[in-house]
């Protein structure tokens, strides 16, 4: 019985962390589907979102429920601008050029953040309404931070699903990501839509950053968590939104279990071991689309 409780407890905390991976992976997937750019700076977008949240909530003393949306909106703007200023001029260049640019954006964001006087290279903490509270579910203990992460992720995924399914802009985003040429021909301003998608995934990253802040603290290098989210996206079959969510959860849970049951060191490689196994058996990923995108 005790073994089962321990196991469930690990699954629970793994799932919470997995939700963060899932949100970052979601950002990878959104941008990749629409623009065929792999944005290696997605983790850094999350880091900036967390810092903005820290600035608004801890430094400016705004209430959490005002600071959170403010940080999210600011990050959406930054994401859109990044697309307009940095990415759009190099679209159509060789893939490695685009990869280098997004990697470079990550470096710039990391050192830029540590140059900001109030941010620096220190770790910061800010409290959310969930900090320090726990709920017992039978023998299990869940912190409110973890529950908030899971609830927010679920809500965000539901909202995104409805958005892509039923709104004019959502359908246009799908159309633009499936066939850019045809999207132009039906009057969809593809470039503006791409900027919107960058804004959307930066906003999702900001939510992830602020949710994650109470667990791992805000730090200029917290964006490296993107390196775990990347296998999550690949695991789900890069290009599939449900796949990104499932991939994130799998990686989070496996990592948590490996950290608990296996010798030290396995925790950090667990994500990649799972990735290799899945790709060996199912190369297109868990939710990979059999259909190839036409160029």
């Amino acid at each position: 019985m005790r073994a089962f409780v321990e196991f469930s407890q690990q699954v629970l905390s793994g799932a919470a962390l997995g939700c963060i991976y899932a949100l970052i992976a979601l950002g990878f997937v959104l941008i990749y589907k629409a623009t065929e750019v792999v944005n290696f700076a997605q983790g850094e977008l999350m880091m900036l979102g967390a810092f903005l949240g820290y600035t608004f909530i801890s430094l400016f003393g705004l209430p959490f429920w005002l600071g959170l949306p403010l940080a999210v909106v600011c990050m959406a703007g930054i994401g859109g601008l990044l697309d307009r200023i940095v990415v759009r001029p190099i679209v159509g260049q060789p893939v490695f050029a685009i990869v280098m640019v997004t990697l470079g954006m990550g470096f710039v964001a990391r050192s830029g953040a540590s140059l900001v006087p109030a941010w620096g290279v220190d770790t910061h903490v800010f409290s959310t309404p969930f900090t320090g509270k726990v709920t017992s579910i039978g023998p299990l203990v869940a912190s409110h931070d973890q529950l908030a992460i899971m609830a927010t992720t679920a809500a965000l995924v539901a909202v995104l699903f409805l958005f892509f399914r039923y709104t004019r802009i959502g359908i246009a985003m799908q159309a633009a990501s499936q066939n850019q040429l045809a999207a132009y021909y039906v009057g969809i301003p593809v470039k503006a839509i791409c900027s919107l998608i960058w804004g959307l995934s930066a906003a999702v990253a900001a939510v992830a950053g602020i949710l994650l802040a109470p667990i791992v603290f805000v730090h200029a290098n917290m964006g490296f968590i993107g390196l775990k989210a990347f296998p999550a996206a690949v695991l789900g079959g890069f290009g599939s939104i449900p796949g990104a969510i499932a991939g994130g959860l799998v990686i989070g849970v496996v990592e948590s279990l490996a950290g608990f049951y296996l010798p030290e060191g396995f925790k950090d490689v667990a994500a990649y071991v799972v990735l290799l196994l899945v790709l060996a058996i199912r190369p297109q990923g868990l939710f990979g689309e059999g259909l190839r995108k036409k160029v």
Binding site: I171, A175, L181, Y185, L291
Partner: protein, 256 residues
């Protein structure tokens, strides 16, 4: 009748290759005009230039009296120019209904859009049956119908089609072309049809142009084009007997 599209002396080159050499063309309100030509004649290039996806190296194109230089396909759609690209290009992972909704992106009148979706199902009953299927699983003919319906969803004044008969069974081609003529009569949309299938194209067009190696070599009313010896031989596959009662390997074309 109002002139909707006016191309003057359009030239286009891909590197050293001249794809269009001084093409001029007119499309008036409510007209159906066919542009005939073989592979490599420059048909697709011409359409790309007319919808501003490609800039001409020389010459000018006016849509509704305004020069389209510097415009883009999405802006021209807002002004009433819809384009059905070659090879259908539907959105594969959107349902049929969502494809149609995407086609109405430039409009915001929800009720009228819903009514137009129904109108399209009326024109193309096969689409109604498959409205919740992904467009990728439709047959070629159904995808072509969807591409046409999607273009009509923007309520265009001009509908440009790039080889709608490509890869379709003859009976289906006839059905689609008859429907195009009907849509033209009912809604007054002008149609510019680029085709290799001269027989079908001329059967619904008012006028036609013959494009050969980037040049317009003939333009006339459809009936007269259909009766023209060179068109009959080159595009309609009808062979007349030569003077000596036998067909020469290739008669020299005169284009007059």
């Amino acid at each position: 009748m109002t002139v909707l599209i006016e191309a003057q002396n359009v030239e286009a080159r891909y590197g050293p290759v001249l794809a269009l050499r001084g093409v001029s063309l007119l499309l008036r309100e409510a007209e159906v005009v066919a542009v005939l030509g073989a592979n490599g004649a420059g048909k697709t290039t011409l359409l790309r230039i007319l919808c501003a996806a490609l800039d001409p190296d020389q010459g000018s194109v006016k849509f509704l009296g305004r020069d389209i230089a510097g415009s883009s396909p999405d802006r021209l759609v807002r002004q009433g120019l819809a384009h059905v690209p070659e090879g259908r290009e539907v959105f594969p992972l959107l349902s049929v209904r969502e494809n149609l909704i995407a086609g109405a992106f430039v409009r915001r009148d929800r009720a009228a859009i819903a009514a137009d979706v129904d109108r399209m199902y009326g024109y193309f009953p096969a689409l109604r049956e498959r409205r919740d299927r992904h467009a990728a699983v439709l047959s070629g003919g159904e995808q072509q119908m969807l591409a046409i319906a999607r273009a009509l969803m923007s309520r265009p004044r001009v509908l440009m089609l790039d080889e709608p008969s490509l890869g379709l069974a003859p009976a289906l081609v006839k059905e689609i072309f008859t429907l195009l003529r009907r849509i033209n009569r009912e809604s007054g949309v002008s149609i510019l049809l680029v085709e290799q299938n001269a027989h079908q194209a001329l059967s619904i067009a008012d006028r036609g142009y013959v494009l050969e190696l980037g040049r317009i070599v003939l333009d006339d009313w459809s009936e007269r084009l259909a009766a023209n010896d060179d068109v009959r031989e080159s595009y309609l596959g009808i062979r007349d007997k030569g003077l000596r009662g036998e067909r020469r390997w290739r008669r020299k074309k005169r284009w007059r």
